[in-house]
Amino acid sequence: MAATGPALQGATLRGPRAWLSTLLAMCRKELTIMLRYPVELVASFGQILLIVMVLTLAGLMFSPTGLNTAADQSGQTAGVVAYGFVLFMFLSDTLWSIGYNVRREQKQGTLEQLYLSPASKFASLLSRVTVTLVWTGAMTVAAAGLLSLMLGRLPAENLPLGVGVLALALSGTFGTGFAFAALTLRIREAGQTLANLFQFAFMILCAPFFPFAALPDWLLPVSRLIPLAHGVDAFRSALMGFPAGYPELAPLALELAVVAAFGLVMPWLGYWLYRREENRARAKGSLSEY
């Protein structure tokens, strides 16, 4: 006789298949919500394109011939800005969107209910990351393509290496996002201000929009301590074909080692921190507090 009742439920809610099914259902839910706002989709794409254009045009004001700068030179400026911007976008999205989603569930009063369900908590966090990965990825690729059309071809050397570095750096930023979600559970509304502060620190210390050479000497050692700074450096150096002076922070082998460690360790560390904070919130009964 086939199992029924609690025995069947127990069987279907455990194991890798159930976990994958939960993850897919949650991703589908997040993507469906996202697709309900097509204007927002188009607007956020336009916004990204404009930011990169504004910064590239500003950078060209410092070249002797302004906008008439030769395509290879303007391509290099656009390359520095565009490739740094890719990582900036992913960091901004993951840093805040995972924490923001947790916060939103908390505000709407659904976080506690989610925790009462037998669904995997890790799948819940991962689904939010997946949407970021799909949408931000699509936007950055499209923005890079459009930018190439307008400002001249973006340098795109060593693609496999670039993609590998990007994947590891992204894995690390997702881990950072988990850690930040843990922090959001603790500090609640102040999370947004802190996320902004982190973003600005990243904008300076990880130099996504300018070469590290532009940073004052006393700041460079601080940048070298941040794994994501090595990610930015290795990623754009690889795609720009290692022009003279790149990578700027350390030899490539060392940068790759740092980025690999960041990409492999940070997701586990971030998730561990999240579980720790979640258990604390459950013990205190503060999950539904906002």
Binding site: V54, A58, T193, M203
Partner: protein
């Protein structure tokens, strides 16, 4: 039958100032947010500064002067980012005010009071202008001090006149965003996009002369473009669009007359339309 009392100008002013006070009191509870408003324009301006220094090397200032008309790129970029802050704040504060009331379910109640929405939006605009001016002023001075340039060079009074004249049409335009929120409701992304469109058109970090002719023409229809160039010309001498300060200021005066009227007209139309159809309570 009770007579219908029409609010006097003093009543309207009192209501508008009460709204301003309410908003200021509210934001005073978030000092971190206020501090961020001073930090953001400085960090934002430092991006092209660092990019330019790296790409231009020792000739960065000289190259910048050849392209923009001034070698003082620190002040040039800081002016751009601070005017951008003023403009973005104006858009967001008015739009967010309406959206917040919508989301918290109080917009319908607000519309049931005898105070007109335009009186209240004037109060919000006063609050927004006060907050934006203080933040932008401090960010400019602190930014100049950090990057070691004199913040008080050039004709400061003339620069202030351009800002003052530019704020009126700017807040007139924000009514268009208010109308957008009433109509579209969830319009954060659209407002976010518009703020970058305006930053691009007003030449936040570059002169609008580098834009293609058609885009430049559109840019010149935006009051923030005249405000930014007016302040830069007054402080850094980059050159007024019409050669003389009073001609550029006169253009802003024309905007001053036209933009608020146009904004009010669109806002009123959308407001009436929403009242007649889905109602103010829906969000």
């Amino acid at each position: 039958m009770a007579a219908v009392l029409r609010p006097s100008l003093a009543h309207k002013l009192s209501a508008a100032l009460a709204e301003t006070r309410l908003r200021l009191l509210n934001i005073s509870r978030y000092p971190g947010q206020l501090a961020m408003e001073i930090i953001i324009p400085i960090v934002f301006a430092s991006m092209p500064m660092l990019l330019g220094r790296a790409s231009g090397g020792g000739a960065a200032a000289e190259n910048f002067a050849a392209n923009t008309g001034t070698a003082n790129y620190v002040a040039y970029l800081l002016i751009g980012s601070n005017v951008f802050t003023l403009v973005s704040n104006a858009f967001w504060h008015v739009a967010y005010w309406l959206r917040f009331e919508q989301e918290t379910g109080t917009l319908e109640s607000v519309y049931l009071t005898p105070t007109s929405s335009l009186t209240l939006v004037t109060g919000v605009a006063l609050y927004s202008a006060a907050r934006g001016l203080v933040a932008a002023g401090l960010a400019y001075i602190v930014g100049c001090l950090i990057f070691q340039v004199n913040p008080l060079q050039g004709d400061v009074l003339l620069a202030l006149a351009f800002i003052g004249a530019g704020l009126v049409p700017l807040y007139g335009l924000t009514l268009l965003f208010g109308a957008l929120v009433l109509k579209v409701k969830e319009s954060n992304a659209l407002i976010g996009l518009m703020q970058w469109v305006v930053s691009f058109l007003m030449g936040i970090f570059f002169p609008v002369a580098v834009l293609p002719p058609l885009v430049r023409l559109v840019a010149l229809l935006f009051p923030p473009t005249w405000m930014t160039n007016g302040v830069r010309s007054a402080l850094l001498g980059v050159g007024f669009f019409f050669g003389e300060w009073y001609l550029d200021l006169a253009v802003l005066w024309v905007f001053m007359l036209f933009a608020p009227l146009f904004g009010f007209w669109v806002f009123n139309r959308v407001e009436r339309n929403v009242k007649r159809n889905e109602g103010m309570g829906q969000f």
